[in-house]
């Protein structure tokens, strides 16, 4: 039988990807340009017995999301810049209490209300550093409608596997453009569920590291009773200020991601092997970049594209390796150098990083990137 094909927006694809991953709960608050995610979930979830709730504000949506996940189901919310700022305290709660969930953040112009209908890539640092305290961060940045679907499935897999909030952040262009999408068959993409406890309720501890860095998570209402808090906690979930326990638990929470970077990181390399100039671009900007790289090749310039699909954790080691062989990097982005700064931070000064920074609500166009490629000597 032929696979189901559709002509969808990125936002719609995120919702369908979530459903494919087994999402059964959505809690959100309306915000442009992400509302289609909520709208599709409000239509589809009740059909499969799932639950949709529109909460009273952004942080309330984040709270309900965490509560829903703790009750045992895969949970999704969607938002955009201002909403991401408002959710931050509880994103940190999800990190310390280790509650899996997925946040779709459609990147629009900022700061503050900024340009609600304009594209941007300036939430990328907020995804890693937005909430206070040390914490793990996983952030995925798809570049096509098909990829939004697939990466949303992967976002759920990573959230469930590592028991932590995961962000997927299409820019407004990727979120609103329509493309052909081929729906994977059930079973075609891997779907991971959180590890349930293997011990009886009387022996269960919610942060029992004898099971490894990612302890099994029981659900409220499933026969297990336990305590959850946003305070630094012990293995049994109760608060502690004991120095050695707090230090060890904080380190473990971050290590869940850091020690598994190879599993979480994902990127695409295009014409990199012999490249003199490497454009590092993600999201919709990577589409302009690919066009510019092809044009440069036609003009005899050895250009290549490095496209992060996972932005956090960032593929630092691979870029460092590449930096030893190239004359320069180009960082075209819809922010004032956030990605360029990240690149500079991992290449040890081996090559210059030339930026093309647009925050005027317009995409970086291929001509701009081609001109910059030609500047690298």
């Amino acid at each position: 039988m032929a696979k189901k094909v559709a002509f969808l927006q990125g936002n719609e694809a995120a919702a369908h990807g979530a459903l494919y991953a087994g999402c059964k709960f959505f809690a959100g608050y309306p915000i442009t340009p992400s509302t289609e995610v909520a709208e599709v979930m409000s239509i589809e979830l009740p059909k499969i017995g799932g639950k949709f709730i529109q909460m009273e504000d952004e942080i309330g949506a984040m709270a309900a999301l965490l509560g829903g996940s703790l009750a045992g189901v895969k949970a999704l919310t969607s938002t955009s810049g201002p909403g991401l700022s408002l959710k931050q305290e509880l994103i940190g709660y999800g990190c310390i209490a280790e509650i899996p969930c997925v946040i779709v953040n459609v990147m629009r112009g900022g700061p503050s209300t900024g340009m609600p209908t304009g594209p941007s890539q300036s939430d990328i640092m907020c995804a890693k550093w937005g909430t206070h305290g040390d914490h793990p961060a996983i952030c995925l940045v798809p570049a096509s409608v098909q990829e939004v679907f697939e990466e949303t499935v992967r976002a759920f897999n990573l959230a469930e596997k590592y028991r932590t909030p995961v962000m997927i952040m299409p820019d407004e262009i990727v979120a609103h453009m329509r493309e052909r999408i081929v729906f994977p068959e059930p079973g075609e993409l891997e779907v991971i569920d959180r590890t349930a406890p293997s011990v009886t309720p009387d022996k269960y501890k919610p942060y029992d590291t004898s099971f490894g860095d990612v302890p099994p998570l029981a659900a409220f209402g499933s026969g297990y009773k336990f305590h959850v808090t946003g305070l630094n906690k012990m293995q049994d979930g109760f608060p502690t200020t004991k120095a050695e326990i707090v230090q060890a638990e904080e380190e473990r929470q971050v290590r869940k991601v850091e020690a598994n970077k190879a599993d979480i990181m994902k990127w695409e390399e295009y014409q990199i092997d012999d490249a003199d100039v490497v454009v590092v671009a993600y999201g919709s900007t990577s589409r302009s970049a690919r066009f510019a790289v092809d044009e440069a090749r036609r003009a005899g310039i050895k250009a290549g594209l490095f496209r992060p699909i996972t932005f956090w954790p960032f593929p630092e080691e691979r870029l460092l390796e590449i930096s030893k062989k190239v004359k320069g990097f180009i960082s075209p982005e819809m922010s004032l150098g956030m990605c360029a700064g990240v690149i500079k931070g991992c290449i040890e000064g081996n090559a210059p990083v030339l930026g093309i920074f647009r925050v005027d609500g317009e995409p970086v166009n291929p001509g701009q990137i081609l001109d910059k490629i030609k500047e690298v000597k």
């Binding site: 829903g68 703790l70 509880l90 209402g221 946003g230």
Partner: protein, 272 residues
């Protein structure tokens, strides 16, 4: 025979953090008796709180307990209840947590009439942070941040709940200890969003700044400043001046939220 509270207390988690003379322990005992009266099973009951002295209560009880962030108990609990409508969900917290930083979640939980019970321990002060004024601090009172007297008017929390759509609203006090469990039990048995405000005392950060010489004086104040709602019916407006009503203040039957959402599911599946 003495009541067996131990059955519901988490082993090894006492003593509690509350100061001598604080009424929160009286409320916790009332809650335990109410849970026992209602026959709630530990594994099927979630007790959810925010941040503050009162919000430390769930940690002492042997249930599914969720100590959330400041003000967010009602929103977390809404997520739990939506996913597992069969669970009993009880919220506990203080006046600042519930009506200032958590005010929005509070009024919307009332509006939805989602079947949960919210116990607000109103001691008129932010105790844990050292006695700053809250939305429940009376005008003119002293707090660490109102050294010249509080310029703010106070919320009437019970009226706020009724106005926002809660379908069961009651008020008790830490003095009237034997009434607390009855009010909470009735609230738990009510289908819909129920609010029980317990007027409480904070001798450490409120009493000493506001001319209460002892805990006994504070308890006497709770006794003398309140009137049962039934007794009030026979009293003149003059006699009722300055008095706060206690008992079941409001009760109505209205569609409950998770049951309404079950109808949404039925409609969506019928249309499929």
């Amino acid at each position: 025979m003495a009541y067996d509270y131990e059955k519901y207390i988490r082993p090894g988690k006492l003593p509690h953090i509350w100061c001598p003379g604080c009424g929160h322990g009286i409320v916790m005992k009332g809650l335990i008796r109410a849970i026992d009266t209602c026959g709630l099973k530990k594994e099927e009951t979630a007790i959810v709180s925010g941040i503050g002295c009162a919000s430390r209560l769930p940690g002492y009880l042997d249930f599914c307990t969720l100590h959330t962030a400041h003000g967010r108990a009602a929103a977390f609990a809404t997520g739990v209840k939506m996913v597992r409508p069969e669970m009993n969900v009880i919220l506990v917290g203080g006046d600042g947590d519930g009506t200032a930083i958590g005010g929005n979640h509070f009024i919307h939980a009332c509006r939805r009439n989602i079947d949960m019970t919210y116990i607000i321990m109103n001691n008129k002060i932010y105790g844990m942070t050292g006695g700053q004024f809250s939305p429940a601090t009376p005008t003119g009172d002293k707090a660490s941040t109102t050294p010249y007297g509080n310029p703010d008017p106070a919320f009437d929390i019970a009226k706020l709940a009724i106005g926002a759509g809660a379908t069961f609203v009651a008020r008790g006090t830490a003095f009237h200890a034997n009434q607390i469990d009855k009010l909470i039990a009735e609230a738990i048995q009510h289908k819909g969003f129920s609010v029980v405000e317990i007027l409480d005392d904070c001798p450490t950060t409120y009493g000493r700044r506001n001319k209460f010489k002892s805990v006994i004086e504070m308890m006497n104040y709770l006794k003398e400043s309140t009137v049962p709602v039934k007794a009030a019916e026979k009293m003149s407006p003059e006699q009722l001046k300055g008095k706060v009503l206690t008992g079941v203040l409001y009760k109505e039957d209205k569609p409950e939220y998770t049951e309404e959402y079950a109808k949404v599911i039925a409609r969506a599946q019928a249309a499929k």
